[in-house]
Every structure is written in C-alpha cells, then in structure tokens.
C-alpha cells in the first residue's frame, strides 16, 4: 500500500464512522424492531406493526395526506422560486446579484423554530394580516388563517424553498445567454425558449432542489406541529406520538420505515419522469 493510499483510508475513517454508527446501525436496529411486538416476557417477531397501518384509517390517511401535501409544496416551491432564481442569475445587474442572494439567505440564520413562530404572529387572529385587513375595512372580524392547511403549507414552503432556489440558480448560471439569443433568432417565442431551452437546461437543478425540498417537507415536524391544525395530522407527528406518547417504539420504527420507503419511491419516480440520473443531479 502506498503512502497516498494509506492517507486516503485514514481520512476515510471519520466518514465511515459517521455512516456506520449514526446511520447504518440505527437503521438496522430500527428495521429489526419494526418487526417486533412486545410479548409477555420478551418481544416476538410479527408483521403486526405494518398491518395495523393499513387497518387503521387514520394512519394511512395521514400518510397519504402527508405525501400529497409534500409533493404539492415541492411543486409550489418550484413555481415560487424559479422566477426569483431566473431574475437573480439572468436579469439583475451582476453587481447586485450577490447582495440579493445574501438577502435570500438571511431567514436561514434565524432557525426554523423562530421563523415558524414569526408566521404565528403574522397569521394569527390579531396578527399583521388580519389587523391590516380590518383596518382597511375589507373584513369585519378576523378570518382564520392560523392552524389550517394553509398556514401549515406556508410554513413548510417558507422553510424549504431556499433549498430549491440555490440549485436552480447554479444551473441557470451555467446557461450560456447566447442559447437564449439563438433560440430567439430562430423564431422561438419567450414561452418556447422557457420550455425548450431554459427548463431542460435547469432540470438537474430543479430535480436536485425538488429532492431536498421534498425530503425536508415530508420529514418536518416543527411547521406541521405549530402551524397545522388539529384536523391535519402530519405523518411525522404520528411517529413522534408512537415514540414519545405511547412509548411503542416498534410501531414508531415501522412508521419511520414506511416514510423512508415512500420518499425514496417518490424521488425515484421524479427522476424517471424527468429523465434525470441521480449522479448527475447530485453533482
């Protein structure tokens, strides 16, 4: 073994320790316990933790609800942030671009919990929006914005959309402006240029951002818990309850694995549908 190789393996140790001790081992442990049910004296092997998920409507309904909302919020994150990313990379003067990008990042400095409470203040019955609307005479009494699907979605969107903006900006930056000019020169309308040139070019960034946003949203606990209402249960809350309210770790582990399976499946489908490769998106 040459010196270089030794150094390589030496430097690999922290990464391997991290992967094995903090990710692989706990997952194997959870996977095993998800097939166990506590018996009288010792735990026994059983599929019950999984079958109960399909039997109880509240479980799979929450699950479905979470997946649909997470996909919706991911699409919304794209719709909201793409114009911003395009503006920052292709329209605005380069002098201001980095300053404006920094402005975008500022909310990340505060932390999720604080920004989510910020939304409580904004959306509450006596929050900024309701008070302004009453003051303007548009409404008489406060409208319920907080503790709804709407407020939950806003919170989830807000805390995740930057992770869509940055990868999309990176791909747009690498788009040669002359491609846009060439398409225009060949008679393409603005919409055609957007659909045939800009979107295909930015696709790796969009999928990359989409994966991050989807994972963040589907696995988030804070926003659904604080901004969501009683009626819209987020699946992470079910997992939380199993672990910390009913202390049924085996059940919680099974739910955790179901979430892992569905998010992997959605990401795989997104890659298939967009014709992207994971290696390309990841780089």
């Amino acid at each position: 073994m040459s010196g270089n190789k030794k150094a390589f393996y030496f430097l690999l140790i922290p990464v391997l320790l991290w992967l094995v001790l903090l990710i692989i081992v706990p997952h194997i442990d959870l996977f095993i316990s998800s097939f166990k049910v506590d018996g009288d004296s010792s735990s026994v092997f059983s599929l019950e933790n999984y079958t109960i998920f399909f039997k109880e409507k509240i479980y799979w309904f929450t699950f479905l609800n979470t997946v649909i909302y997470a996909i919706g919020i991911t699409l919304l994150a794209f719709v909201v942030t793409f114009p911003v990313a395009f503006y920052l990379t292709k329209v605005v003067d380069k002098k201001y671009a980095s300053f404006l990008t920094l402005m975008l990042l500022i909310p990340l400095w505060v932390g999720e919990l604080v920004t989510i409470y910020g939304w409580v203040i904004i959306l509450g019955d006596h929050g900024v929006i309701n008070e302004s609307l009453i003051w303007l005479g548009i409404i008489d009494k406060p409208i319920t914005l907080l503790y709804t699907n709407f407020s939950m979605s806003i919170g989830l969107l807000y805390m995740s959309m930057l992770f869509m903006t940055i990868p999309v900006m990176t791909t747009l930056e690498s788009l040669d402006d002359s491609l846009i000019e060439a398409a225009s020169d060949l008679g393409a309308s603005k919409f055609t240029i957007f659909r045939r040139i800009i979107i295909p070019h930015a696709m790796p960034g969009i999928i990359n951002g989409g994966i991050i946003v989807f994972m963040l949203v589907i696995g988030d606990y804070v926003a659904p818990n604080i901004l969501g209402g009683k009626s819209n249960l987020w699946f992470t809350e079910q997992i939380y309850n199993q672990f910390l309210s009913t202390f049924n770790w085996n059940q919680g582990a099974a739910f955790g694995f179901l979430l892992l399976v569905i998010s992997s499946a959605v990401i795989w489908m997104a890659l298939k549908l967009s014709g992207q490769k994971l290696e390309k998106v990841g780089s």
Partner: protein
C-alpha cells in the same frame, strides 16, 4: 443585383461611449461581406444591431427595402451563427437544425426533408441522432451553420464562427465556407478580427476601427490601396515609419532616413511599405524608385514566406520578403544588399 441590406447613418451609443459612428453599408444580394477590425472596434455591436438584439441610437437599417426599426430578432429575415455556436446541448443534431422550422409550424415531412437536405449539404449525413457533445469542433461548426441556413435567411450573420477552431481546421473551413456560400447563394455578413479569413472569403471587406468603417472595398483594393493609415497597418503585413518631415519631393523618417517622394500634395506624418514591394538588387534601368544600401540583420526562414530584417544607414529597420530562388538563397546576416522601392509603393498618410 439589388441590395439586400441597407445601413444608413447608423449610430449606437452606450452612455458616453460611441460604439458605432455613422455606419453606412450596402450589401448586394448573394454577396459575401466581411466586417474586419480589432476587438472592441464595434463589429459585434454592428452585427447585433442588424440582428435586432441591440436597438440603434439613430440611423436606419433596411432589409430588402423594408425598414427594421422596432422589429424583434425572431421576426427579422436574418439568422446568426454565434461565436460560441450556441448549439442546444439538450437536443440532438436533427432537433437542433429542425428547431427554427418547427417554430414556423411546418409539416413534419417538410421539416424532415429540409433538415436532411441541409445536413447533406454541410457534409453531415448520418449524424441526425448524434448528441452535440459527441461532435468534433468542425462538426459543431457545420451544425451551427446548417441550423441557420435551413431557415433560408435573406442574410446570414456570422460572428467569428471559426475562432474556436485550431489553425489547420480553420484554414480548411475557410475554403469550405466560401464554397458553401457560393452554392447556396445566401448573402453572408462575416464578422472577424482575422484579416486572412476576411481577405480569402469575401467579395468585399469593411475595415472597422473605433466604431467607424475606415474603408469598404474589395480585398485586392484594401491591400493595394489602403485609404487610411489604420487600414494600411491592419490589413496585411507592413513596415510602418513615423515621419519627422516632408517637402514636395521627399520624406524623412524620425531617424533621419530620407526617401524621394515626388508630387506630394500634403504633409504626411506616417508612411508604409509592404515587405514584398522591395526590389532586391535593382537594375539601373528602373525608374521612379528609391535605391539604398542596407545590412542584413537576420534571415527569418519560413519557406515561401521567408523574410529578412535589414538595417539602413539611419538605423531604421525594414522587413523584406526574400524570394526563395537560387539568386538570393545564400544571403546571410551581416551581408550588404542593394534595395529599391518604387515611389508608388510608398504609402503616405496624415495622422
């Protein structure tokens, strides 16, 4: 032949900077016109104004008699071959060439027929399914040209399309581009900073400097009768001397080298002599020439382009073409040679 492009008194300012000043340019149908100039002379700006990507500050552009003011790039009957080629990497060769035709909403068979025909014409038959990143530099070049030509533009604008190629391929593409233009008969306006490209390919060349067209002429006239000192210095190789004085029958360089120059009706301050205009060992019967002695400093052998650098008595240095025949093959540094230059081969300019 009728004129296809008329540019009249065109000006373009970027703030205080005058990128284009009083440009007048008439291009006839089927002509190959080059716009030649150093970087920053405004040639690319001119092309972009013609294509409609930049709006002119004043003046007018007409294509086939119809004014282009306010018409967007996609609606002008011109197409560009970009310097970066700007091929669409997300599409294959066929889709790249078909892109413009699809925008016109033509029938599938018609598009397919025209694309295949054009790919054949540029020598890329069988490359339809190839991806752009699988092509060589020269092949990309042809796709870019095919993509524009398939639109049957009234004028094809080419923005230094050969600059990314290596020397040998560039020499080859020069000839091929010229032949292609003759075959299809489309008017070409070719932007370049490479005088050899401009001289070899063009019917006429517009030499630009600092936003102005200095001279618009055939390559031969540009070379033999440059109108301005800039053209004399920029087009072809030249020996340039600043002058310290002149009278009606002679000029004197800054170093004090005096040459006869009868019938001067102005006071020049710069003078040019082409390397190949000098006559080695001039015979006595030659008239209207300057004769002088010089010492060879160095012989720069380069086959048919062999030159030598000689020094005259005043210390002025001249580059002289050295014909590769038996008579002059034995010249070496340190030798003294007799040299002549005809009056009409000395080009004098003010400024």
């Amino acid at each position: 032949m009728s004129s296809v492009l008329e540019v009249k008194d065109l000006n373009k300012n970027f703030g205080d900077f005058k990128a284009l000043q009083d440009i007048n340019l008439n291009v006839k149908e089927g002509e190959f016109v080059s716009v030649l100039g150093p970087s920053g002379c405004g040639k690319t700006t001119l092309l972009r104004v013609i294509a409609g990507f930049i709006e002119e500050s004043s003046g007018s552009i007409s294509i086939q008699k119809s004014p282009m003011k306010g018409i967007s790039p996609e609606n002008r009957p011109v197409n560009i071959v970009f310097q970066s080629l700007a091929l669409f990497p997300m599409m294959n060769v066929f889709e790249n060439v078909a892109f413009g035709l699809r925008r016109q909403g033509l029938k599938k068979d018609e598009i397919s027929k025209r694309v295949i025909e054009m790919l054949n014409r540029v020598g890329l038959n069988g490359y339809e399914k190839k991806k752009i990143n699988e092509l060589s530099g020269g092949q990309k070049q042809r796709v870019a040209i095919a993509r524009s030509l398939v639109m049957k533009p009234k004028i094809l604008l080419l923005d230094e399309p050969l600059s990314a190629l290596d020397r040998k391929l560039r020499e080859y593409m020069k000839v091929e581009l010229k032949e292609l233009q003759r075959e299809v008969g489309t008017t070409f306006i070719y932007i370049t900073h490479d005088q050899s490209e401009a001289l070899v390919m063009s019917d006429r060349v517009a030499v630009m400097n600092r936003g102005k067209i200095e001279q618009l002429d055939t390559p031969v006239n540009l070379y033999t009768h440059p109108n301005t000192a800039f053209v004399a210095g920029f087009v072809g190789e030249n020996n340039r001397f600043e002058l310290s004085g002149s009278d009606s029958y002679s000029i004197t360089t800054k170093n004090g080298w005096k040459l006869n120059m009868p019938d001067l009706d102005f006071a020049p301050n710069v003078m040019f002599m082409r390397p190949e205009a000098f006559i080695l060992e001039p015979t006595d019967d030659l008239k209207d020439i300057n004769k002088f002695q010089a010492t060879i400093k160095v012989v720069l052998f380069d086959g048919a382009n062999t030159k030598m650098s000689v020094v005259v008595e005043s210390g002025d240095e001249i580059l002289i073409s050295l014909p590769q025949n038996a008579k002059f093959q034995n010249l070496k540094s340190g030798d003294t040679v007799n040299i002549g230059i005809a009056y009409h081969n000395i080009k004098c300019y003010e400024g």
